[in-house]
Each structure stands twice: as structure tokens, then as C-alpha cells.
């Protein structure tokens, strides 16, 4: 999942011909004057923190400036912010338009129907979750032939637009649809979508590109604004990695088993911290790498829960023992293992020899790791 910052989303929108406010990105107050002139942005202008979290308006991460000095000050102030834990690295400066109405528009995937769904509401500019169901139009679109006339007319009716504005929105719908399909997006959201005279202008842009489609989109390869450094390493090694705020590390294989382990852990008062999913791998090197990642997250204790189906228990055990030996003494942590399935006996024996007990029962092993981490919360 590649979440794009607003300015990157708008760069894509521009390529597809979507109408945008004039604007420019800066990374320091010194760039403001040149950027405003270069992009032809008049005053008053809007100064927006380029962070991924929502609620920028209320959080002081969107400001207004009526002259250059104010724009520079606002840029400086915003670049100094940490917004919901995110450091602000870029600021978007944009012209302030005379907005008649604010609308909502998005395209996402409807998993149940296996179809993209276009959502539109005349109530834009607020969080869509707060808009009542009946005020949102949903149109499911067959990928062949794509978004067509009557579907667009239903959306236009929901947006309560007509005449020249409706013609603008009609064109916009085609453009947004193309963005969704051609950029392999998971989500394209414009909120607010502003009516400005006869124009419809994307005031914000929220675009999420699907990770799995990255082989078609090398252009997004180095965008990883929303990952922690450990998450980034995990991604490169193809290990699913989630950081939570507890103190127990979990290494498991498969998303379902990982989640089930988390459920049991929580039930008995454990606080899960880092979560690693090895997937269906057979590769002892991956086990080793996962263990190293885990060590860097400094857990109070670690639970290894592996069901060897495609994976072999002995291979996993060997990788684990290797990895343990490479961790410096001062970084060691208590380890509880549960290793079952394919070649189980061999795996258990290998662990035993290295001083790690493998318990067959999930409940018992979870209780053991919680105790090792200092007891239930």
C-alpha cells in the first residue's frame, strides 16, 4: 500500500487533466517566494502540511497567508511541526479559490461485489464517515466497459450539479476513473471537490497505490513516507511486519495464524508489540532475518508460533538457532516456541538442543511467554 502525499496525488491528477488550484511544493521557507512566482500563485494563498494523516485543518497544519511574509512564516511554522507523529517535510502552497460548494468523490474497491465502486456526495469537505448513508451515491462499475453514461448521470444527480458544472464533473469522472485503473490505485479520493464558477477543482487528493502492482509502477518505488525504518526493511525482505505498542514480539507464519495468536495473547493479558508474519516460506534465511528484525525492536519476550505445513519445522528451527547465536548477549530476550506440523519431532529436537522449549499447546505457550515478559497487563 503506497499512500501518496497530497502533492504527489495532485501531480498524478495533473497528468490526467484534472482541474487543480495553482500551487507549488516547498521544503524550506527560502523557496516560498520563487515557488509562488513560478507557479503563478496569487495571494491570499493556502499553506498545507504534506502529511498522510487526516484532520490537518483542525490540527493547525493548514494555514492561510495574505502576503509573502505570512506565507514564509506559515511555511516555517508548519515545517517545524510533527503532525500526529509524522515529521513535516514538504509544504504545499496553493491559490485560495472562491468556492461555491464542496463535494465528495472517491473510487475504491467493493470486495463483496468484486467491482470498483464510485462514491459521490453533495456533502463534501467533512469526513465521509460523518455523512449519512442516504446522502452518498454508490455506483459499481464493471471494469469492462468501464464507467459509462448512465452511471455518471446517477453520480451527477447525487452531486446535485447541472449545466456547465455537470459537464465539468462528467469529464472529471472519466479522468478519475482513468487514474484509478491506469495507476493501479486502491483508493482515489477527492475531498473536498470544489465548485468554482463552472469549474470543478480538486482541492485535496488522496491516492493509495496498490503495493502488489509495483512491478508496473517503478515510479512509486521510492515513495515510502508512511513506513517506519523497521517496516521498510521488512518490506524489502518480504516479511509482513506490524508495529504495535506492547512488549511481546510474535513471529508466526500466515496472516490467519498470526492474527489468531494475537487474539489468544490478548485474551490472557499479553500486550503484543512487534508482529512478524513469515508467510509460506521454507527459507531458513528468512527466519534468521525475521529474528534480527525482532531483536532490533527490543521486545521483553518473543513467541514463535509456527505451523509447518508447506514449511518444514526442522528448517525453521535450524534458521532460528542460527539467528539466536548471532544476537549479542546484551540484546538477548526470552524466547518461547510452539512449533508444530511437518517434521515436528526433528524441529522440536533441534530447539531443545539449543536450549529452547517448544510447547505443543497454544494456550500454555502463550501463558509462558506472557510470564516471561513480566506477567499479564
Amino acid at each position: 500500500m503506497v499512500k501518496l502525499a497530497e502533492w504527489r496525488g495532485k501531480e498524478i491528477f495533473r497528468r490526467y487533466g484534472i482541474d487543480l488550484p495553482r500551487g507549488a511544493v516547498v521544503r524550506s521557507p527560502a523557496e516560498v517566494a520563487g515557488a509562488l512566482t513560478g507557479a503563478g500563485v496569487p495571494f491570499p494563498c493556502v499553506v498545507k502540511a504534506q502529511v498522510l494523516a487526516g484532520g490537518r485543518g483542525k490540527g493547525g497544519a493548514v494555514r492561510f497567508a495574505t502576503n509573502l511574509a505570512e506565507a514564509e512564516d506559515a511555511t516555517r511554522a508548519i515545517l517545524a511541526m510533527e503532525f500526529k507523529g509524522e515529521k513535516v517535510r514538504e509544504v504545499l502552497l496553493e491559490e485560495k479559490l472562491a468556492i461555491a460548494r464542496e463535494l465528495y468523490l472517491s473510487i475504491a474497491l467493493d470486495r463483496s461485489q468484486r467491482l470498483p465502486v464510485v462514491m459521490a456526495s453533495a456533502q463534501g469537505g467533512v469526513e465521509i464517515e460523518s455523512v449519512e448513508e442516504s446522502a452518498i451515491a454508490r455506483v459499481s462499475v464493471d471494469p469492462f466497459p468501464g464507467l459509462i453514461g448512465y452511471e455518471k448521470r446517477r453520480l451527477l444527480a447525487a452531486l446535485a450539479v447541472s449545466g456547465a458544472v455537470a459537464r465539468s464533473v462528467d469529464g472529471l469522472l472519466d479522468q478519475v476513473w482513468k487514474v484509478f485503473v491506469q495507476e493501479d490505485a486502491e483508493l482515489v479520493e477527492i475531498n473536498p471537490l470544489a465548485i468554482v464558477g463552472d469549474r470543478v477543482v480538486a482541492l485535496d487528493a488522496k491516492v493509495i497505490i496498490e503495493d502488489d502492482a509495483s512491478f508496473r509502477h517503478p515510479e512509486y518505488a521510492d515513495i515510502r513516507d508512511d513506513r517506519t525504518p523497521l517496516e521498510e526493511i521488512a518490506r524489502e525482505k518480504e516479511i509482513a511486519f506490524v508495529q504495535l505498542d506492547g512488549n511481546i514480539g510474535v513471529i508466526a507464519n500466515g496472516a490467519g495464524l498470526t492474527m489468531a495468536t494475537l487474539d489468544v495473547l490478548a485474551e490472557f493479558g499479553g500486550r503484543p508489540g512487534v508482529f512478524l508474519d513469515l508467510g509460506g516460506t521454507d527459507d531458513p534465511r528468512k527466519v534468521t532475518e525475521a529474528f534480527h528484525l525482532m531483536a532490533q525492536a527490543k521486545p521483553a519476550a518473543v513467541f514463535l508460533n509456527i505451523f509447518g505445513g508447506v514449511t518444514r519445522c526442522d528448517t525453521v528451527a535450524r534458521g532460528l538457532v542460527d539467528a539466536m547465536q548471532q544476537v549479542p548477549a546484551n540484546e538477548r530476550f526470552p524466547l518461547v516456541a510452539r512449533i508444530r506440523g511437518n517434521n515436528e519431532a526433528e524441529g522440536v529436537a533441534i530447539l531443545q538442543k539449543a536450549g529452547v522449549t517448544s510447547l505443543p499447546d497454544l494456550k500454555e505457550s502463550v501463558q509462558a511467554v506472557i510470564a516471561a515478559a513480566g506477567g499479564p497487563a
Binding site: E129, E133, L187, E189, F215
Partner: protein
């Protein structure tokens, strides 16, 4: 015939010359499955695990009468490999490949549907009917023939649960792994009617996960139309919300998609809900209809 596949299902393995393809072709054969052909462009004429390899699916179908395919093709090529199979007349595809872009899956699903072809997966363990056949990668060791049907969105967790059922002395009729991707070819709602109609299944274990509304949809179906006992488990009850999807995803669901929502819906529909995976075998034993020995 068991659900979807049977002893005489003639299996093609697309990507058989890769590591995964070779290993699992061997395992399928060891399970008793009728693996008749492999296909890898440019590798026609080889033999892998005693199975003849063809350059194209059309050639494989013509030469061997293959009528189901199991895909181990890398994600960037999976879409085209599946479409090739459909165009060659194959009506059942188990797609093991993970990381297929969902936009590709949309094309695959809707094209397949227009041609009458069914997908299991992607990113799924496949389907197995102990004593009969297996298409996919579910480990051979966890099975024992019996009368419990299993439908699951998970992989490893399914093996664990199936193994637990076996250790309780019970067996499975058909085990079907749907895969947990955003777009799957077969959902609970698609699969439940097959188990309803399957005379060899007396009870169904349904293994769900948080996210999406597949379990809620299943509950709706079970409440209206499913007449066999259902044991349900949903993983991810304690997972932090919103780690995956943005706002638009959240509002498609609108209060659906959480473990609570799923569990309540399933319970209301009459399913027996397990709180933890290790509770499942006992529940299966409790609710499995008793039969006189054959």
C-alpha cells in the same frame, strides 16, 4: 463427487518448472491427485515429476484432457496465464500465486465468469478431498477422510485447524482455502451451496478473518439457506483497526468488517462460534451429526 473436484479431475500445473510448482506437483501426486500436465512457455517437451510439460495450455489440454489448473506462475504473469487457461477451455483454476494486483484479479474474475470459469484464490492453499484429490498446497499430513467440510480464508491457520480435527479422531470431506486477498474468485457465499449439496459433508467449519464483509455475507446465507451445522471462527478479534484500508474502505463496510460484527452475524445465523482455534475440534465433535457405521 466431492465438492468441485474428484478422483478423475485432470490437473494441469501452470509454472510446474519453478521450485514451488515442482514441489507441489510432487505433493499432489503423493496425495493421489491426477496431475496430467504442466505448462511453462519455452519448456515444452520436458518432464517434471513424471509429468509432461507443454509450452501452452491449449497444447496441454489437447494432449492430456486437463480440466483444472493449479497456478504457481509469478504474480506479474498470473493474469495472462489464467486467461490462457480459460481460453483453452479450463473451467476451474486454483491460484496459489500471491501478490497479484487486485486490478488484475478484477479482469480475471469477470472474464472468467463470462466464460463460465471458476477461480479458487488467489493467494490460497487450494482444495483437497482426502482419499480423492488435491489441487493446491494444503499439506498432505493434516488430512484424514471424514465428513467435516472446511472453508477458510486463511492458510496456515487452516492447516492447524484441520490437523486439530484429525487429532480428535475426525476427518474431512473437502477442505477449501479461499485465500485472503481483497478480490477472491470464490467467497464463502459461493462455496456454501456446494457443501450444502455435498452428500459427503455433514458439518462445515468456517474460518474467517477481519476485513471485508465475506463473513457477514456468509452469515446472511447460512441464516436463510444452510441446513447443516456450522462451526465458525474469526481471526483478528484483537487486531488494531484501520491498519490496512483508508476511509473509503471503511465506509464500504460501515460498521461491518470487524470481528465483532462478523461473530455476531454468524451467531445470529445459528453458527456455533469458537473464540479460539483450539476450541474448534471439540465443537466439531459436539455438533457433528452421529451416523450409524456404514
Amino acid at each position: 463427487m466431492s465438492v468441485l473436484v474428484d478422483r478423475d479431475t485432470r490437473i494441469l500445473v501452470q509454472g510446474i518448472t519453478g521450485h514451488q510448482g515442482t514441489v507441489h506437483a510432487r505433493n499432489m501426486k503423493a496425495f493421489g491427485a491426477n496431475v496430467v500436465a504442466g505448462a511453462t512457455p519455452g519448456k515444452g517437451g520436458q518432464q517434471v515429476e513424471g509429468v509432461p510439460v507443454f509450452d501452452s495450455v491449449a497444447q496441454a489440454v489437447k494432449a492430456t484432457g486437463a480440466n483444472a489448473t493449479c497456478l504457481f506462475v509469478p504474480a506479474p504473469f498470473a493474469r495472462d496465464a489464467f486467461l490462457e487457461a480459460v481460453d483453452a477451455g479450463i473451467q476451474l483454476a486454483v491460484i496459489v500465486t500471491e501478490h497479484i494486483p487486485f486490478h488484475d484479479m478484477l479482469t480475471m474474475y469477470h472474464y472468467g465468469r463470462s466464460k463460465g470459469a471458476r477461480i479458487i484464490g488467489p493467494n490460497c492453499p487450494g482444495i483437497a478431498s482426502p482419499g480423492k484429490t488435491k489441487v493446491g498446497i494444503i499439506p498432505n499430513v493434516v488430512f484424514h477422510p471424514g465428513r467435516v467440510g472446511v472453508i477458510s480464508r486463511s492458510g496456515t491457520l487452516t492447516y492447524e485447524i484441520v490437523n486439530g480435527i484429525k487429532e480428535r479422531g475426525l476427518g474431512q470431506s473437502t477442505c477449501l482455502g479461499l485465500g485472503g486477498d481483497p478480490v477472491v474468485g470464490t467467497s464463502f457465499v459461493d462455496a456454501l451451496p456446494w457443501f450444502q449439496d455435498d452428500p459427503e459433508t455433514d458439518l462445515v467449519v468456517l474460518v474467517g478473518e477481519i476485513g471485508g464483509t465475506a463473513e457477514e455475507d456468509a452469515a446472511e446465507y447460512i441464516g436463510r439457506k444452510f441446513h447443516k451445522p456450522v462451526i465458525a471462527y474469526v481471526a483478528g478479534r484483537s487486531a488494531p483497526p484501520g491498519k490496512r484500508m483508508g476511509h473509503a474502505g471503511a465506509i464500504i463496510a460501515r460498521g461491518k468488517g470487524t470481528a465483532d460484527s462478523k461473530l455476531h452475524a454468524l451467531e445470529a445465523a445459528g453458527a456455533h462460534v469458537a473464540k479460539f482455534p483450539y476450541e474448534i475440534p471439540a465443537l466439531v465433535e459436539q455438533y457433528l451429526p452421529k451416523r450409524s457405521a456404514p
